[in-house]
């Protein structure tokens, strides 16, 4: 993994030099949180908030959005734009390994995810009285699993798609269903019965559900949700190794 730290660090700084990307990935989830809580701010009747406000429901959804808008978009776009510009081709004649390269781009995006999560958390806990009633350690653990899975998904998209155009098509055709079906807006129980298993199998659903359960201090009974995340991670890594191309 020689060169990993330098590659990751330079990639992190390069992302900062592109302010639009940095703004989009960091500000979008925070703005979404504010929009939901302040402007819409309408608790779902009959939903058990465990003594907290509507913001405690929007909080885990916003964290899911952070993960979606950093790793899931950032990694594949970095891979395809560098492939198209011939940057990967240039790196290929150095001794750097594919795994090092993908790990470096992932680490750089991870940093943005962490900052994005921190922004949303400070906003929610500092200004909207959201409390994590369950274990904070479990919260961090779920976050970690989610990040690994979505970084792997991002790498897979960046490997399967050869061009930024294709990557964008894949990203957005996956982004929208996850936004609609992963309980970010509405509970699974409101979906048609046939759609519910599909929604449960999407990678963002377990993230959102597990985080919400921890915020409300509900026991983590459904451990199979970690299996969903793990399965997506494994499939993604296999796809990355199988389909990665330098040019």
């Amino acid at each position: 993994m020689r060169g990993l730290a330098k590659l990751a660090w330079s990639e992190f700084r390069l992302t900062l030099r592109d302010p639009m990307t940095a703004f989009w990935s960091l500000a979008f989830p925070a703005l979404w949180f504010l929009l939901m809580v302040v402007v819409i701010g309408m608790p779902i009747p009959g939903f058990d908030y465990h003594g907290q406000g509507f913001a405690s429901l929007v909080f885990p959804a916003s964290i899911s959005l952070v993960i979606l808008s950093t790793s899931f978009i950032g990694v594949p776009i970095a891979l395809t734009t560098y492939r198209e510009a011939g940057v990967l081709r240039r790196l290929r004649v150095t001794p750097v390994k594919v795994t090092t390269l993908v790990a470096a781009y992932s680490l750089s995006q991870l940093a943005f995810t962490v900052v994005g999560v921190a922004v949303v958390t400070i906003l929610a806990m500092g200004f909207f009285e959201v409390r994590i009633l369950g274990s904070a350690l479990a919260f961090v653990g779920v976050l970690f699993c989610a990040m690994v899975t979505f970084l792997a998904l991002g790498s897979a998209i960046g490997s399967v798609a050869r061009t930024t155009r294709t990557a964008n098509i894949i990203i957005w055709s996956a982004f929208t269903p996850m936004l609609m079906l992963s309980e970010l807006f509405m509970p699974l129980s409101l979906l048609p019965r046939w759609l519910q298993p599909i929604a449960k199998a999407l990678p963002l659903t377990p993230v959102n559900t597990l985080l919400r359960d921890i915020v409300f201090g509900v026991a983590l009974g459904d451990l199979w949700r970690f299996g969903v995340l793990g399965a997506w991670a494994v499939v993604s890594l296999v796809l990355t190794v199988r389909f990665f191309r330098w040019e």
């Binding site: 020689r2 060169g3 730290a5 330098k6 590659l7 330079s10 990639e11 700084r13 390069l14 030099r17 592109d18 560098y82 510009a85 011939g86 940057v87 081709r89 240039r90 790196l91 290929r92 004649v93 150095t94 001794p95 750097v96 390994k97």
Partner: protein
């Protein structure tokens, strides 16, 4: 040549793309410390061959050994020890020049102790804090060379390094290559500028349609043409056939060129004198008469019947 003094050995290397045979049965050996040039027109197979040697493409058949290593099976080890400048590549556009040097140096097991000194050598010191995308074409090319040098490579591969550079920048590039060569290093370059191959290379391989059609020192290639001098001129007052000049003394070959003729001759003086007498007798008006010693362009023309750049 003994195995340990060979920097590169290719044996019967073939690469096909569909029906096109891009590289057709190429064999060559390059000694450590040589500057070797691969010349030929665009599409002749230069880039395909150099990229197979650099481990980027897999030959369909034949064997390649670089520093004794198999570029496919031992690619990582090979990439540690070679420096490569590629056509049609870039680095991260927003990366600053000195960051790029540091980043690439960190990818190698062994790199120059002070890679930033390369910026001085390549007159890039004042661009150290500029972003790559803001640089001119020549500056980008020099950054590419700096990056090829960060691991203090044993062999440098340059693919069309001076294409698109102004004459001054090209001269500077030549000086740099000679300096590198002076430290006992091997250089493998491709070019479609014959004068570049002539000025730099110890030996030159001429490649056309994927085949090596000549391989020797530039001086020998020219000498073997057995055409000591060229006499060039135009006839301004009437149409004449090139056969008319073939009988002049010492002339070995006549080529029509542009709107005039080129006489290849083993004795420039004799041919020139007789040409002028012949013109007097026949009432031809000659214009723009001059003599040239032949160069590698003539070698290519003689070998293929075509101009290098057309």
């Amino acid at each position: 040549m003994a195995q340990q003094t060979l920097a590169l050995k290719c044996e019967h290397v073939v690469k096909r793309y569909g029906d096109l045979v891009a590289v057709n049965d190429v064999s060559l050996e390059i000694a450590v410390g040589e500057i070797f040039g691969l010349v030929g027109p665009n599409g002749a197979g230069k880039t395909t061959l150099i990229e197979m040697i650099e481990s980027l493409r897999k030959p369909d058949s034949g064997s390649i050994r670089v520093l004794g290593l198999d570029p496919q099976a031992q690619s990582v080890e090979l990439r540690e020890r070679i420096g490569v400048q590629l056509q049609a590549t870039s680095i991260q556009p927003n990366l600053k020049v000195k960051e790029a040097i540091g980043l690439f140096a960190s990818l190698y097991r062994k790199s120059l102790l002070h890679p930033e000194e390369l910026l001085e050598t390549l007159s890039l010191a004042d661009k150290a804090n500029s972003r790559f995308r803001k640089l001119s074409g020549g500056q980008k090319q020099r950054v590419a060379i700096a990056l090829a040098l960060v691991n203090d490579p044993e062999i440098l591969f340059f693919d069309e390094i001076t294409t698109g550079l102004d004459p001054q920048a090209r001269r500077a590039m030549w000086d740099l290559l000679r300096e590198f060569h002076g430290r006992g290093k091997t250089v493998f370059l491709t070019t479609h500028y014959m004068e570049e191959a002539e000025a730099l290379c110890d030996r030159v391989a001429v490649i056309d349609h994927g085949r090596i059609i000549a391989l020797d020192t530039p001086a020998n290639l020219v000498h073997n043409l057995k055409a000591g001098t060229k006499v060039l001129f135009r006839v301004t007052n009437r149409a004449v056939a090139s056969a008319e000049f073939a009988k002049l003394p010492a002339v070995t070959r006549v080529e029509p060129k542009d709107d005039g003729f080129v006489l290849y001759t083993s004795d420039g003086n004799a041919t020139l004198q007789e040409l002028i007498r012949h013109a007097d007798r026949q009432g031809l008006s000659l214009d723009a008469i001059r003599t040239e010693t032949p160069n590698l362009d003539d070698v290519f023309l003689a070998l293929t019947g075509r101009e290098m750049r057309e």
